[in-house]
């Protein structure tokens, strides 16, 4: 049982190229469909929790499923399985990068990839900003979340101009939101 758990999460770690949402169908097919270790309802809860908590979805899922199946040792084993392929593959890449990144061909490839990475981060940023502005709902004037928009703007200025610590600003945003919605009773959209 523990071995099966270990190997199915090695599979998840090995084949989930592209992070996050690429891992979800893989986890579903082995953990829910093939082994039935957690139900579809639990799987949906898992995705909700993964979105609300820090950490990669694959690691969250491994811990969650591991605990359900075999307690804390299960959580360790599943998580270890899911990061093991990365440790080998990416370590090899780290070595290759250090050794070969001066080569003209690799230099050209990396300089072509850098704007791609900037674009990918920009795309992720815009998705998050859209979620903040419309409270995760569809785009319409009725869904505009002014608390979120104002918080985000103030936070941006504090980070950009005052150079404040980003995590401190982020946590302060959480507290500010609690004060505005909880204490002053501004309804959440």
């Amino acid at each position: 049982m523990l071995l099966k758990l270990f190997f199915s999460f090695i599979q998840v770690g090995l084949f989930s190229v592209g992070g996050g949402y690429a891992a979800i169908p893989l986890i579903k097919s082995s953990i829910v469909d093939a082994y039935g270790w957690i139900s579809m309802g639990e799987f949906t809860d898992l995705i909700t929790i993964a979105e609300m908590t820090p950490g990669p979805i694959a690691v969250n899922a491994a811990t969650f499923v591991g605990i359900k199946v075999a307690g804390v040792p299960g959580a360790f084993l599943a998580t270890f399985g899911c990061i093991l392929p990365s440790c080998f593959l990416v370590s090899f890449l780290a070595y290759a990068y250090r050794k070969y990144h001066q080569l003209a061909l690799i230099q050209n490839m990396l300089s072509g990839l850098r704007p791609v990475v900037v674009a990918l981060i920009a795309s992720a940023t815009l998705s998050i900003l859209q979620m903040v502005a419309f409270a995760g709902k569809s785009i319409s004037a009725a869904h505009l979340d002014w608390t979120g928009i104002i918080l985000c703007l103030v936070a941006f200025l504090l980070i950009r101009i005052k150079k404040l610590n980003p995590i401190a600003v982020m946590v302060s945003c959480g507290v500010a939101s609690l004060v505005v919605h909880g204490l002053f009773g501004v309804p959440m959209i």
């Binding site: 820090p54 811990t63 990061i83 990068y97």
Partner: protein
């Protein structure tokens, strides 16, 4: 380079990644922006270009971006022990939090206070990412290369408008660069 090596410390590496991993949620590109703020802007362990290279490698490899980027940073800062330290730091916070929540997840997921705090933190995450992406984008523009600008705009449209998987975009660009290099080499050989 030797003088710079002294700044690396495994303890600092561990707590930096632990801290970032504990507070950033919302996918791989979020944690990468926080890593850029910490390791490029604050600690100066690596430069911006290297962080972008790490991001591309982490995204193109199987597994979670956060774990992959931690592995790369770990090797850079402390070789094999650095890699182990970085990975442990990256997975400890989610493991502890999920373990705690898994015993009472319905209470957690439907808690109003949790929802309020998370809503505000999301606004903060958006602000941090906007700050990082503004710096990164301006630096690409400053290079004044129309090829790089074109790649950036095309990749953005592919990702945001057409929702094409990030890995596919990265592999496509690798293939395009390779094709371009081959054509240039063939042309050189013909002319020379």
């Amino acid at each position: 380079m030797e003088a710079e090596k002294k700044k690396y410390s495994l303890v600092k590496l561990f707590f930096s990644i632990l801290y970032i991993s504990a507070f950033t949620f919302g996918g791989g590109f979020v944690i990468v922006t926080f890593m850029k703020k910490k390791f490029v802007d604050e600690l100066h362990w690596i430069d911006e270009q290297e962080m972008l290279d790490y991001t591309a490698l982490a995204q193109a490899s199987p597994g979670a971006i956060a774990v992959n980027a931690s592995i790369l940073l770990g090797w850079k800062a402390g070789g094999f022990p650095g890699m182990i330290v970085a990975v442990i730091a990256a997975i400890t916070p989610p493991m502890v939090i999920i373990t705690a929540i898994s015993f009472a997840y319905e209470a957690f997921a439907s808690n109003r206070i949790v929802a309020m705090v998370l809503r505000g933190m999301q606004a903060g995450v958006g602000a941090v990412m906007l700050d990082v992406v503004a710096s990164l984008g301006l630096n690409v523009v400053k290079e004044k290369s129309w090829v790089l600008m074109l790649i950036m705009i095309a990749a953005f449209i592919a990702a945001f408008v057409f929702n094409i998987n990030a890995s596919i975009i990265i592999v496509t660009v690798i293939v395009l660069v390779l094709a371009y290099e081959l054509v240039t080499m063939a042309r050189k050989r013909r002319n020379g």
